[in-house]
Symmetry: C2
């Protein structure tokens, strides 16, 4: 009896719903109707349609996204580096010795040339200084404060407002189709986790990045985890494939990047069995964003572009494919 | 019009459903109706009931579980070690030099006393030997083969059949209430990930464990990730709190362990704000399982038991609280 009543009502409900249903809304309204959008929609359709020869069970629908230059802008410098320089300036009053000591002196003088001339080691020294002695909770608070106030030197917007609207739509679209979306970034995980849920809908446990070593201690009986001035893991280049294996423990079926630092992640993703998708964001829009690739010092796209072209990976032409760029723009 | 039709039908459907609804099934049927079960159900009720002063949003309902001795048995030796010894025996024909070389010689002779006398360094040397040169995919296959065939020396059951039925119910119960369940084990992540989804319903990306270092390479153009004979991370003791922060990036609200190696994970969990839950499985059932605590060489429970008793954490008395023990048992 119960079942019959419930079933009859369900049938009526479905009929009522169908009769009045509107056409489904475009899940990617900020994407122009180009071959790029079509490639994305075709892939998602194939892996989600039961009975499709390229069907992938929901649990295996892992998608990995680079952050800088893929989910938000990275010019005129990587945003995580802007954070580091801002933190060095904020900490300087507690470190009078920095006034005469490189690379701190260069940061305080705004002398980017000297900083970048020092290469990765210089940046790592600065990163260590911003972490040293902070508990994980104290550090997260410095990130939240920065994200709420620091502004991009050219747009004047909050950095988090310079997330890409089309990519945010893509993240939502994939999740609506059963994908689990991960960030796999060369940036520091502890710099991203305080705001990725709000900005991208990606929770902290799905954010993989570089990291400093930490130590656990009891401070007056209270457990704390404290950052050490020592690099633990660099999640870039080959490190992205290693990070995926270490943190996720299974191979993504889709990966999204924009630079040579993403090449191994894309190679690792594409070498798995079954349906696969690789996408590179090519920065081609000097007016609305920036145009750069093979010669850029931030987000250099050279070898990965060659491989994408040779292997038929999807390449976003930002100027042609994106109707709007940033999440702060009106559509 | 559409809305009115749909709403009316929905109301009828709900009424029909309510009128015929049976009492909800007990989600923890393998747990006796003791204070332990009551503490679990009370906690879950409080954090999930909207309006409750201890309500926790679903995204923050992170639960961390130790594996050995908490989700499956760990006597007469840790199961991950049984795997390592089995692998050394399987690899021995390719390593004739092991016949005369410790600690391999001791493994091949079944001389556990010599192995354990060597302490952690000896075990790590053996673990390195089982990983060295394997790709992550090859290694996963050795684990799958072992899990499908290796049998416990006393019960004669597959090791994975010695997962605890009450804990599997608890995992399901928490997930049904919006929790995300993680394993945080001293065992190697790559040893657990091939079977945790099947046995516990926990996907690879929610398994945190110890790990060897790896390297990414192109082998004849094909990308592979290869294990190195070097330990990368030990996820035990303070390492469990560090691992939680590194991999999950937010603090669990509930943690489940059984030994002193879980103490810092429980401390870290309990020191957060809002509703918290800590549980220790105390092995008190010499007939159906094993009885051991302060003096055991596997799963020693001494300091953590003192702290649990002092702080009022929940302690499972396996003999009294569990109606059945293993997943293979009929209820």
């Amino acid at each position: 009896m119960k079942n019959m009543v419930v079933k009859s009502l369900l049938v009526l409900l479905l009929l009522a719903n169908t009769a009045f249903a509107a056409a489904p809304a475009d899940p990617l309204p900020s994407w122009n109707d180009t071959a790029t959008k079509k490639a994305i929609v075709t892939f998602v359709g194939e892996v989600t349609r039961p009975g499709s020869p390229r069907f992938v069970p929901a649990a295996e629908r892992i998608a990995a996204f680079d952050n800088d230059g893929t989910l938000w802008a990275e010019q005129p410098m990587y945003f995580p580096e802007a954070f580091v320089f801002d933190r060095i300036r904020a900490l300087a009053p507690q470190h009078p010795e920095w006034q005469g000591k490189q690379p701190f002196k260069a940061v305080l003088a705004g002398d980017l040339k000297t900083i970048y001339a020092g290469g990765d080691q210089t940046l790592l020294e600065l990163i260590n200084a911003t972490h040293d002695g902070y508990t994980t909770e104290e550090f997260a608070q410095t990130v939240k404060d920065w994200a709420a106030t620091a502004r991009h030197p050219i747009s004047g917007r909050l950095y988090t407002e310079m997330a890409y609207r089309p990519m945010r739509e893509l993240l939502d679209y994939l999740r609506a189709n059963g994908f689990k979306t991960f960030i796999v970034s060369g940036g520091w995980a502890d710099f991203m986790r305080p705001w990725t849920e709000r900005v991208y809908g990606i929770p902290p446990e799905q954010v993989i990045g570089s990291s400093n070593k930490t130590e656990f201690k009891l401070r007056d009986g209270k457990p704390v985890i404290v950052f050490l001035p020592a690099i633990g893991f660099i999640d870039d280049g080959a490190g992205k494939a290693i990070g995926i294996e270490r943190y996720i423990g299974r191979r993504p079926i889709a990966a999204f990047g924009n630079s040579d630092g993403d090449l191994q992640m894309l190679q690792w993703t594409m070498d798995g069995e079954g349906a696969r998708f690789a996408l590179l964001v090519h920065h081609t829009d000097a007016e609305r964003e920036w145009a750069y690739d093979r010669a850029s010092s931030f987000g250099r796209l050279d070898k990965a572009l060659d491989e994408a072209l040779a292997k038929g990976w999807t390449v976003v032409d930002m100027k042609e494919d994106w109707k709007s760029i940033y999440v702060f723009e009106k559509r």
